[in-house]
């Protein structure tokens, strides 16, 4: 299964609920397109919910990094929510866990944007 995205607005924060696999091909491009769409529309606070993402490969990691820099380059901020153990481990061994602001609780994550 490739990745499925649902974008919802909570106050001024755009929450992207992702589910499935973010891997080379459709999974990566789906996330890239969604992020670009949000940034183009001026959304600068993005919370990417990965709690239902079962798998990310090196291409998917690249897309997370691109998402982070795309939003940051527009003066915004992208944070991550709900990493599974495997995704967390992957971000740790690639030293990206300290680059992203990661939250386990959505309410706390939303408050952190204030």
């Amino acid at each position: 299964m490739s990745v499925k995205l649902n974008v919802r607005q909570v106050g001024d924060v755009s929450v992207i609920d992702a589910a499935g696999r973010i891997t080379l091909g459709e999974g990566s491009s789906t996330l890239r397109d969604a992020l670009r769409d949000l940034v183009t529309k001026g959304h600068k606070k993005v919370l990417l919910n990965l709690s239902e993402v079962s798998y990310i490969d090196s291409s998917g990691i690249g897309e997370l990094v691109s998402a982070y820099t795309t939003v940051a380059n527009q003066g915004g901020v992208l944070k991550l929510l709900g990493l599974t153990k495997r995704v967390k481990d992957l971000l740790q061994i690639t030293k990206l866990y300290t680059v992203f602001e990661v939250h386990d609780d959505e309410a706390a994550a939303l408050r952190s944007f204030a």
Partner: protein, 145 residues
């Protein structure tokens, strides 16, 4: 802990140069790794290493050519689980990727595939094939390192 140190029968298959074949190779190797005795997390890591390697073969080696195959072999012998992945391309340079953990490279979009392969496997060997093609051999020890 791995429980089958006496080996498994070699599994061989020619895969198309497609991203669907990447998924297939990963699924096969995870199944074979579990049969060999690795636990679920280890099998997942081996599968991810193989995925990255087959992506290289399909994308950089065979360049998605419908006329070229990726030959894929999995076996365990002498307490080592081994995967061989051979493409039919013109060859590509594996060592020219900057260190993805260096501070200045952390926000690069690409360049983490080989790092993940090395992180999850015990050894990685690359051999040029004649007249063309590249064969990558990955191994991981069965049992305590």
């Amino acid at each position: 802990m791995p429980t089958n140190p006496n080996g498994t029968q070699p599994f061989e298959q020619d895969l198309d140069s497609t991203l669907e074949a990447v998924d297939k190779a990963e699924a096969i190797v995870v199944e074979q790794a579990m049969k060999a005795g690795f636990d679920e997390d280890e099998a997942h890591q081996i599968g991810m290493a193989v995925r990255e390697c087959v992506v290289n073969a399909v994308v950089h080696g065979n360049r998605y050519s419908a006329h070229k195959k990726v030959h894929f072999t999995v076996f365990s012998r002498d307490n080592r689980f081994t995967i061989k992945i051979a493409d039919q391309g013109e060859g590509f340079e594996l060592t020219a990727v900057p260190d993805p953990l260096a501070e200045e490279n952390l926000l690069r979009h690409s360049g983490r595939g080989m790092f993940l392969i090395r992180a999850f496997m015990d050894s990685l060997e690359v051999k040029k094939l004649s007249p063309h093609g590249t064969e990558v051999t990955l191994t991981k020890a069965l049992g305590p390192a």
